[in-house]
Amino acid sequence: MATQQSRSAARLMMAPAVILLLGWMLVPLIMTLWFSFRKYLPLRGGDQGWVGLENYARFISSSSFWPAVQTTLIIVGGVLIITVAFGIVLALLLDQPMWGQGVVRILVIAPFFVMPTVSALVWKNMFMDPVNGILAHLWKFFGAEPVQWLSQESLQSIVMIVSWQWLPFATLILLTAVQSLDSEQLEAAEMDGAPFLKRFWFIILPHLSRAITIVILIQTIFLLSIFAEIFVTTGGAFGTRTLTYLIFQRVLESQNVGLGSAGGVYAIILANIVALFLMRIVGKNLDT
């Protein structure tokens, strides 16, 4: 049993972390909320007073808002589908007996450790360059016209780059889940003559459902705020301006802080909706 003394000691030990995070959360949040209700143009007249909900209305009604929402959804959705689908396949494959399993695992996981600016730039120049990129060489080798990846197929290109970065994460987590699968149950099903697809659908997939949910939730939170990949490759041009990038441009590039802050509040609300689901799962897990 914890004594009164150790309780107050515990509270004291928690204090620095709690106070710092509270400050980190509240101070900028309150400032963003405050700015979002004001006309604030640091380079053109500064703070020009209270405007109520005007920024919120203008942010949504601007012509770049809905395209940005659409871009965000395509990138997040595309990357989720690719990483989860291939992640399941890879996890099942890596679980099979083979030679050099450890090395293959390392090869598959490696992209996760490449910093975003490097992977974006390497893909942009060395792979997707329409003249000298590897993909251009490959297309020419098969007699096809090289693709102008980042200008004509810009969204697909970004989805590809980001999927490459996040596939390792999905694979690793799903692999961890696959490895905890009860192999006797699978063997029994196999002996009873259940074909692979049936075993996959009725035994493996239900077992993986929790891990898949977690992969989806965590990746969504990170994918909603991808930045460097777009900053380095297209700078938001060619229809790749996500909500995050739009807010960044409003705040720092055109220095319209009021408008950008209203956008920021929308982004915070959106992220919180996703976070709520994630927290529920994590919280449930804490009890057991």
Binding site: S6, R7, A10, R11, M13, M14, A17, L20, L21, W24, P28, L29, M31, L93, Q96, M98, V103, V104, R105, L107, V108, A110, P111, F112, F113, V114, P116, T117, L121, V122, N125, M126, F127, D129, N132, H137, F141, P168, L172, I173, T176, E187, R210, I214, I218, I221, S225, F227, A228, F231, V232, V251, V257, S261, G264, V265, V274, A275, M279, V282
Partner: protein, 276 residues
């Protein structure tokens, strides 16, 4: 009963898995190979794979022209500093939550995690403004503090899950024997906690090293770490493939090596203990 697997089946698995593994790894391999080519060979048509004149010239040029060492030092300082600072703050917090849990412990843990979900862009301007007012824009110190704060929830969580695995009876036994709180932490807990702390250190160093929102937005010439250094290589320098590759290889090599040691911690650290 272990399933009997024929050698043939195993060979097939091996072939498929290696092919996919190499395909996924290829961009990294290609970057490393290209860094040893001359610029002419780097854009040769058709591309040369292994049979070229290996050269170290690109590394020398990158180092000389862009003062690579300064960016490297900034990265080491910021990633290392923020991780160590975070651990110092998180260890007592995680310790107390793991060993003296109260009714609110779970709520506090979840709340800490929720601060990690705050989209950075939503608070970009306030942080930017605070940095200007405090005169720490483009300073290593400012960035170290910010990266410490964004990773603090993960650090607390990871340490908490590790500390949870230490049997509380051992601590109680030490207490019965009259060990003070200080001695209990120093001589009983610390030796058992070191592996967990080391894993946490490793993963968070990697996360901080690769962080590319705040490092791009809060630095300019002085405090820019490798993430920003590489971003400055977008065209026209980026079209010099060999030099771009050399710069990229130098930026990712240390982390690739560290990363291979941290595969297991990755799952624990990034799923907050929800997948084990």
């Amino acid at each position: 009963m272990a399933r009997a697997v024929t050698t043939q089946r195993k060979a097939l698995n091996t072939a498929i898995a290696w092919a996919i593994g190499l395909l996924i790894f290829f961009p990294i391999l290609w970057t490393i190979l290209t860094s040893f080519k001359t610029e002419a060979q780097a854009i040769a048509d058709p591309p040369v794979f292994l049979f070229f004149d290996w050269t170290l010239e690109n590394y020398a040029v990158v180092q000389e022209r862009s003062n690579y060492m300064r960016f490297l030092w900034n990265s080491v300082f910021i990633a290392g500093g923020s991780t160590i600072l975070g651990i110092i703050i998180a260890v007592p917090a995680a310790w107390s939550m793991a060993f003296v849990p109260s009714k609110r412990t779970k709520d506090i843990l979840l709340w800490m995690l929720s601060t990690k979900m705050l989209p950075a862009v939503g608070v970009l301007y306030p942080i930017y403004l605070i940095f200007i007012k405090l005169g720490i824009l483009d300073s290593r110190l400012g960035l170290t503090v910010v990266l410490m704060l964004i990773n603090l929830p993960i650090i607390v969580w990871m340490l908490y899950t590790y500390f949870k695995e230490i049997p509380g009876e051992i601590l109680e036994a030490a207490r019965m024997d009259g060990a003070s709180l200080r001695n209990e932490i120093l001589y009983v807990l610390t030796p058992m906690a070191i592996p967990g702390i080391a894993s946490t250190l490793l993963l968070n160093f990697i996360l901080a090293w690769n962080e590319a929102f705040w490092t791009l937005n809060l630095t300019a010439a002085q405090a820019a770490p490798l993430t920003a250094f590489i971003a400055s290589y977008s065209s026209p320098e980026g079209l010099f493939f060999a030099k771009l590759s050399a710069a990229s290889t130098m930026a990712i090599a240390p982390i690739l090596i560290l990363g291979w040691f941290s595969q297991k911690q990755l799952v624990r650290g990034l799923t907050f203990g929800a997948v084990k």
